[in-house]
Amino acid sequence: METLVHFLSLATKSIFIENILLAYFLGMCSFLAISKNVEASIGIGKAVIFVNGITVPLNWLIKTYLLDQGALSWTGIESLVSVDLSFLTLICFISTIAALVQFVEMFIDKFSPSLYNSLGIFLPLITVNCSILGASIFMDERGYTFGESIVFGTSSGIGFFLAIVCMATMRFKLRYSNIPDGLKGLGITMILTGLLSMAYLSFSGIQL
């Protein structure tokens, strides 16, 4: 029960209070480029939830059992016990993400064509989405456990999903409004994002 409550509050925290997009600015590039279109936003949102939910725990395993100081002690080889490979963290994380995204793409292409049709084109974009690598680095920096990293990965993906879908619907309405020339497109989107992030700030009063 205690763990469940803990996981729930972690999820609420990473979806609303510390939204990865609106509080940490991660994943802005795809957010700005894709929020022009509601359907595409839903697609990339789902893809982010899916990939984040897998890569964060996977990177946790790699970090804990391969890279940390003394992480190799499970092999039982004495000379490996004191090895500290943590300087390789960044390269390992990004290669894991790139390889996994590639693998997932092939996998769902073969086994679930309908899922591939809705996620397929977004998966390659995800490799260079900062919110994926960012979530893994946050997981490492905050020292989450394995269970926490599953919850954190999935719920930061959900946070991204909510923000991008919200933005896409606002931009849909914006199409018919009269905006000054220089502000069209990126400019007005940034200001709208500012207002949206101000709205999300009101969650920060919640004590968990």
Binding site: F25, I91, G134, G187, M190, I191
Partner: protein, 197 residues
Amino acid sequence: MSNKKTFIDPLIDNNPITRQVLGICSALAVTVKVEQALVMTLALTFVVAMSNAIVSLLRKYIPSSIRIIVQLIVISTLVTLIDKVLEAYMYDISKELSVFIALIVTNCIVMGRADAFAMQNDVKSSFIDGLGNGLGYGSILIIVASFREILGFGTFLNFRILPEFLNNGLMILAPGAFIILGLIIWFQRSITSFVEE
């Protein structure tokens, strides 16, 4: 395109942030203080120039199907290098910048330039293009940071300019960054009279 044009173009007309919409994440996150923005500019300029040069050096040997992974490995090696250097010599700033130095790996400017420019051009012009884009990115970063530091803390490079009671807390938080950047984009696009469809 001449080398001079390659260098000048991304500084003003084709600025990576305001025009190409690349690398927005870190432009917003590290602009609370000018000092952080300066360090970030140096780090990114180093990474983008070096990665452009290295990718351009290797461009004839990289098969196009795995080019993204090769570029990522080159970039993340350089980023690890700069991350460790900052940790060793500028510990306080490296703590403040926390994950954002590491996130240069997925900064779209670096990947975008490596893929779009360095894969087609020779080493020298790729290096210059990297420098230009790094500095173009940095110039916007420093403008945003100046606004946020002066309005938010009343200081510039830690020297007090405005009295403390004028501090505007919103500028330090996320919404301030978004709105200031939105206004700067408006300003830049009005000057270069660029209209997005």
